[in-house]
Symmetry: C2
Subunit: 344 residues, 2 copies
């Protein structure tokens, strides 16, 4: 910048005004601007945004922490975030921080030392991380959760329509005539996962049916036992599409037919090539890119002015009926296969 000034015969302050397109308001003549601009081009001048950020206190970059990039569930959210960020002139720093294995808090510190303007994360379960979130919020760091939330952390969150979605998925199976319906999943103590289980429980309760919860373990023995029992459920809702796939895999492996012997509903509807699966999966569809876009919009608000408020935005979900849940014996032509549930 100094060298450009020298070459153009002006001060580096003038160069700065030209480069930042503030020459109009700063009263630089068109002629000076053109000369400086041309010389900057010729010298392959590349302004140093780091320095600019040191001054302005803004980097126009946000960090996104993903538990994994291995399932498209999260990469879809990331795509939504990145697209919305770009629309607003922000760059996205994507970090994969695996649950339990890597330390989210130290990754966040590292990101903050690089002065990202805000953070998004799919929040961690343990108290240590929750305390860290509270500390950050106390420091005024703009933070937004996606995928899950915590009632005890005063931070906005954008999540799926978990309870309503799972309720609708369960209702669908009940509507198909199933009475013994299992819930297959971890039911780990993440609020949004608990919401899903609650949706299942309520739907069952509303129809005076008994919930059957099959917990996932490291191996598949528990599920295998349930599937081979004589009084096995005739249908399952699942915590995520991946769990549904696992269930279908096991069932087929045991010689059971899906959906004839076991009907299955997925959750999330984020699987690729789903129509080409041995059993195309019926699932509660969640618009994950939209989740990302909304989360970014909320973060932009937080960057302007941290709300420090616990405010959860739910994304309505929609049942997508394919083959894995079977059909209503009383199927009528023209029956809707998609229905929107949940509040916006």
């Amino acid at each position: 910048m100094v060298s450009i000034g020298k070459a153009a015969g002006v001060s580096h302050a003038t160069v700065s005004k030209v480069i930042n397109d503030r020459w109009r308001e700063k009263g630089i003549t068109q002629e000076t601007r053109d000369r400086v601009w041309r010389i900057a081009q010729e010298m392959n001048y590349r302004p140093n945004r780091l320095v600019r950020s040191v001054f302005t206190g803004r980097t126009f970059s946000v960090a996104v922490i993903l538990p994994t990039m291995r399932i498209s569930y999260f990469t879809k959210v990331a795509m939504g975030i990145a697209a919305e960020a770009k629309r607003h002139g922000y760059h996205t720093l994507l970090s994969q921080v695996e649950q339990g294995i890597e330390d989210e808090a130290s990754e966040i510190e590292s990101l903050l030392e690089r002065r990202v303007d805000g953070l998004m994360t799919s929040p961690r379960f343990d108290e240590a991380n929750r305390a860290n979130y509270r500390r950050l919020i106390g420091q005024g760091v703009p933070l937004v959760f996606f995928d899950s939330y915590y009632p005890d952390v005063p931070c906005p969150a954008v999540v799926g329509g978990d309870e309503a979605g799972m309720r609708a998925a369960t209702e669908h199976l009940i509507g198909l005539g199933h009475r013994k319906i299992g819930y297959y999943g971890d039911v780990i103590a993440l609020p949004h996962i608990l919401d899903r289980f609650e949706g299942y429980r309520r739907a069952m309760e509303a129809h005076r049916l008994a919930p059957v919860h099959v917990k996932m373990t490291g191996n598949d023995d528990g599920l295998r036992g349930v599937l081979t029992a004589t009084n096995r459920p005739t249908a399952f809702v699942t915590e995520m599409d991946d769990d549904a796939m696992n269930l279908v895999r096991l069932a087929l492996g045991l010689g059971l037919r899906v959906p004839e012997d076991v009907a299955v509903m997925g959750f999330g509807d984020y699987l690729e090539n789903v129509e080409m699966l041995r059993v195309p999966l019926s699932s509660a569809h969640l618009d994950l890119e939209r989740m990302g876009r909304l989360a970014m919009q909320v973060l932009l608000r937080e960057i302007k002015k941290p709300s420090k408020r616990h405010e959860v935005t739910h994304i309505p979900m929609e049942m997508v009926i394919r083959e894995s849940c079977g059909m209503n014996t009383a199927k009528r032509p023209g029956r809707r296969t998609r229905e929107i549930v949940g509040k916006s």
Copy 2:
């Protein structure tokens, strides 16, 4: 930092030495260090890495430009890059810049203004972008290609074993007794894609068989025509797994059986839940995370000292035989289903 110095009763220079863990070599007493450190903690001091980078000229961040995050092909590469980067203390800036729609050159400029230490991209086809790559290399910007390469751009590249992989895929079908084998894909003028076609061509030539190339178009009519013709190929190799899926979808839709009526080999083997597909896809497996890790290692070398050399690293590929290509009529027990091909 100044305020910490004040609180600790030392100069900010001393604080700097403590924070950067250079107090030992700079001759700060343990006592002073501890006091400064404690006060920094208490004040929630977060060093500003931007300023540090202005001085050192290094940000310890690299940029990765992906044509899309929509297929796991690229997210797997990104994961490999990010993992290797993290191992070396680097952050990764992931940008999705869609081919043809968005401007890669301006995205690169923006990244460079933020002073990333190096760049990785799956290079673009057009001459304008190639000229841009040459310009950047001329400026000494560390740049590494992954997925593809250009002979006329003096830049290291890490790519698949495209030619050898496709040759092996074709040979496999020939070994199964097929004589009329089609190649289904774009054959756009990207070197690595041309390499794939070349691998196919050579395998056919070696067995004195005539190549049959089916070009992809916007719609599926071309392929449909070929599949319904009386003299249709009995087998296909494909440019990518996604193309293979499309082919299988169409074939099944036309009432053809896969592999009985049409055998299909994919390329890349990056599909999720492949065992659960209606026809589990046989494919030439490419270790995409490894591609990412290698690309990052090469970039690290370039950052140390730009080579400005055109040097292509091929990743050996391995045939993974599932159901879509059918079985050898002369199948023997104990037959290997995986074979490694290509140089390292």
